[in-house]
């Protein structure tokens, strides 16, 4: 004779169908304690802060590049100095510096080409 198990499938099913797990606080109480205030806070209109310095980094980079190019063009020293010399705008100090620079440059000119170089450098500037 087979021994009947004390806990058969049927007995287990019967027991578990009438059982439950302890859930603790009632859900309405949890709603009142936690969710009511939570939702009220979330629904409160948030103050809008407008930043005057809303920096867009792309514009910053573009502006930097533009400034660099402008500075390079404007501050090209030799060309600028020549232009100013042509208009008689160079100061005494600037004239001396320009003279030194020209003297150094002349050292690299071949003797046979010196006259052409001199004419181009000084004479034509004065005439024009």
């Amino acid at each position: 004779m087979n021994k009947q198990p004390k806990f058969s499938d049927q007995k287990i099913n019967n027991f578990l169908s009438q059982a439950d797990v302890p859930l603790g606080k009632d859900k309405e109480r949890i709603w009142a304690e936690k969710f009511d205030s939570f939702i009220a806070n979330e629904n409160k209109p948030q103050p809008v802060t407008i930043s005057l310095f809303n920096f867009n980094w792309r514009y910053g980079i573009a502006a930097s590049i533009a400034i660099l190019i402008a500075v390079t063009i404007y501050l090209n020293p030799l060309e600028n100095m020549q232009n100013r010399m042509a208009f008689g705008e160079l100061s005494a100090t600037e004239e001396e510096l320009f003279a030194d620079e020209t003297m150094i440059e002349s050292l690299f000119i071949e003797d046979s080409e010196f006259d052409d170089w001199f004419e181009e450098r000084y004479v034509l500037n004065v005439v024009n």
């Binding site: 499938d9 027991f15 578990l16 009438q18 797990v21 302890p22 859930l23 969710f35």
Partner: protein, 161 residues
């Protein structure tokens, strides 16, 4: 999502989620905290609950939160095994019954949490395999297997106590 819609979802699913989390953890406070966090996320992130299965989504979020909690506390299975798994029963007032109830509690605690979840959702809540599969985002076959294994282990545990 309006507050009314959210309250309706809460009323329908909060206890189911809490119950599911208790099946897994055996910890009432933890189940309640995680269930609350899940619903707060639903509201905060304005998750669209009209598309798809909301119950499945809630259970998935609850599972993810639960697993995150496990990882944060770094004690995985030891945590579950340290918790007593409790039941409430309509015959609780019967003293003779309390001994039997303790046996069930002990035997259920010895199951894996996945087996326990599937078994109790089927036996306690009366959900079909299909409904459990949809809630847990698993196949029906997987649920069938888990419940079959759970019943077998539970029966062995009870009969050996």
């Amino acid at each position: 999502m309006t507050e009314e819609d959210f309250k309706m979802i809460y009323d329908t699913h909060f206890d189911n989620l809490r119950r599911y989390l208790y099946y897994r953890s055996g910890d009432q406070d933890l189940s309640e905290d995680i269930a609350q966090n899940v619903f707060m996320k639903i509201w905060k992130k304005k998750i669209d609950t009209t598309k798809g299965n909301i119950k499945s989504l809630l259970f998935k979020m609850g599972t993810d939160e639960f697993i995150s909690y496990y990882r944060r506390s770094k004690i995985e299975r030891e945590y579950v095994n340290s918790q007593d798994f409790k039941l409430v029963h309509q015959d609780d007032d019967d003293d003779d019954f309390s001994e039997k109830k303790k046996m069930y509690e002990k035997a259920l605690k010895a199951l894996t949490d996945k087996q326990r979840v599937a078994l109790l959702m089927n036996k306690m809540e009366g959900l079909t395999y299909k409904e459990i599969a949809e809630s847990l985002n698993l196949s029906q076959k997987a649920i069938e297997k888990r419940i079959s294994q759970a019943l077998s282990v539970l029966k062995n545990n009870l009969n050996s106590l």
